[in-house]
């Protein structure tokens, strides 16, 4: 899959939607999560197709986002969440929809500018994240890739990584990080914590389980954070975003073992 230009917008999201359904069948424990995520993905697909506007200047990606357009999409998301979402989210969505809160643009703006993603209210951050991701991803394709960038934050929007991906390269696998804000993938280094820079291998364990196959937990014993890692050398047809969300069981395991994720994924894990 050519990262720079990316397959057509629709195909990119279709693959994620198909994968969500496929994994839903394969992992009953995560079926409910994935069926909701499927709806979210369809919503993001529509938003992404609609907003295919080229970035104006080459300034910071986050300033390029048309917040008005984004705010206009929120009601659809609210309706979707109240219909298909889990109990608390549905209740919150209905309540917000009924009060037809007008300050969505400010919420989206503050979410976009808080580089680490603010967390006052998990529901508001869910709405903001899901809505902005779709727009930010189409924008980030217009930022050139720099083969020599190995930083730990997104080269396009300096967002925090959501998950790590092992892609097959020669007799091994190269590590990529996927941005939690604009879903961009960029090449990173093996055996280093993206969060605190720890490089001692004894403090960088990888926890995996046969049931979770190609998804494992890359943890750091120094800053006690972790990322879920999708190993494409085991399953080349994985869709990192969806496969990561599907293995929510690993998030629970990690939390029970005192590790915390840098930023929650689209469905709040």
């Amino acid at each position: 899959m050519m990262l720079s230009s990316g397959p057509g917008v629709r195909v990119r999201w279709d693959r994620r939607i198909e994968r969500a359904r496929e994994l839903g069948d394969k992992h009953p424990a995560a079926a409910t999560l994935l069926s909701f995520y499927e709806h979210v993905l369809r919503f993001q697909q529509d938003v992404a197709e609609e907003c295919n506007a080229p970035a104006k200047g080459m300034g910071c990606l986050r300033d390029e986002i048309d917040l008005g357009f984004a705010a206009s999409k929120i009601p659809i998301l609210l309706m979707l969440s109240s219909k298909h979402g889990p109990k608390e989210l549905a209740r919150h969505a209905e309540e917000v929809a009924s009060r037809n809160r007008s300050n969505w643009q400010e919420i989206l703006k503050s979410f976009a500018l808080a580089h680490r993603g603010f967390n006052e209210n998990p529901f508001d951050s869910f709405f903001a994240r899901v809505c902005l991701q779709a727009i930010a991803e189409t924008l980030q394709f217009q930022f050139p890739a720099d083969a020599n960038y190995f930083g730990s934050v997104c080269p396009a929007c300096s967002g925090v990584p959501q998950l790590s991906i092992l892609r097959p390269e020669a007799e091994g696998a190269s590590r990529w990080l996927l941005c939690s804000f604009c879903l961009r993938e960029w090449r990173f280094r093996r055996i280093i914590c993206p969060w605190c820079g720890e490089e001692d291998k004894e403090k960088l364990p990888r926890y995996s389980a046969p049931e979770c196959g190609h998804v494992s937990v890359e943890a750091c014993d120094r800053c006690r954070t972790y990322l879920k890692s999708v190993d494409m050398t085991i399953d080349g047809r994985a869709e990192p975003l969806v496969d990561e969300a599907a293995m929510a069981v690993l998030d629970l395991w990690a939390r029970d073992h005192g590790y915390a994720k840098m930023v929650p994924n689209a469905i709040g894990f």
């Binding site: 424990a29 889990p86 007799e171 291998k201 990888r206 049931e211």
Partner: protein
């Protein structure tokens, strides 16, 4: 690293999400975590010991060092980050696992006594003791403090040390320090041939 380690720590760890996440019923997932057979693997960056390209490799070992389980090597992978080999390995490098886990490895100290036709086991301390005694006897017997013209030379030229060249730099330094301290002049290495 764009964000230096200090600035990372300042921002602290992100708040953990409420147990209910967005309100999903976690019961089915909770059940599954109980039965997960989690294995902890460690990835170690190393260098292939064979030729001088120094291909980068990553050795995967399974087993939790903390709970004194001796880690077992499960996989040796080319290191794609390494600028020279970019993750590729030659036929020797890609069969390195057989060099690490090999039933022909010598596992205990042995000694062959003068005139004997077989190996005998020997304890480490005993072997070290005998080697040290023999070396000291030889040094004291053949040490040359002054040469024929009366110049101080402090030579112990009846013991030879042959170093290999897959020994590390630090080991070579300890060899130079210890052997030159004893006055050894027959110091040679595979680098010569």
């Amino acid at each position: 690293m764009d964000l230096s380690r200090r600035s990372f720590l300042k921002t602290g760890v992100v708040g953990t999400v409420g147990i209910s996440a967005l309100g999903f019923d976690l019961q089915p997932l909770q059940a599954q975590t109980a039965t997960l057979k989690i294995a902890r693997t460690t990835q170690t960056r190393s260098t292939c010991p064979y030729c001088s390209v120094s291909c980068g490799i990553i050795i995967h070992t399974i087993g939790d060092g903390a709970k004194n389980v001796t880690p077992a090597v499960v996989h040796v992978e080319g290191d794609p980050d390494h600028p020279i080999n970019r993750g590729t390995l030659c036929p020797k490098g890609s069969s390195l696992l057989q060099d690490i886990v090999n039933d022909r490895r010598l596992l205990k100290p042995q000694v062959r006594r003068p005139g004997s036709d077989h190996w005998e086991d020997i304890a480490w301390d005993q072997a070290i003791e005998e080697i040290a005694t023999k070396t000291k006897l030889l040094r004291d017997a053949t040490f040359v403090e002054k040469d024929a013209n009366g110049k101080t030379v402090n030579r112990f030229d009846t013991l030879a040390f042959a170093g290999g060249c897959t020994d590390t730099n630090e080991f070579n330094y300890l060899v130079v320090k210890s052997m030159r301290a004893m006055g050894v002049t027959c110091l040679e290495n595979q680098a010569r041939v």
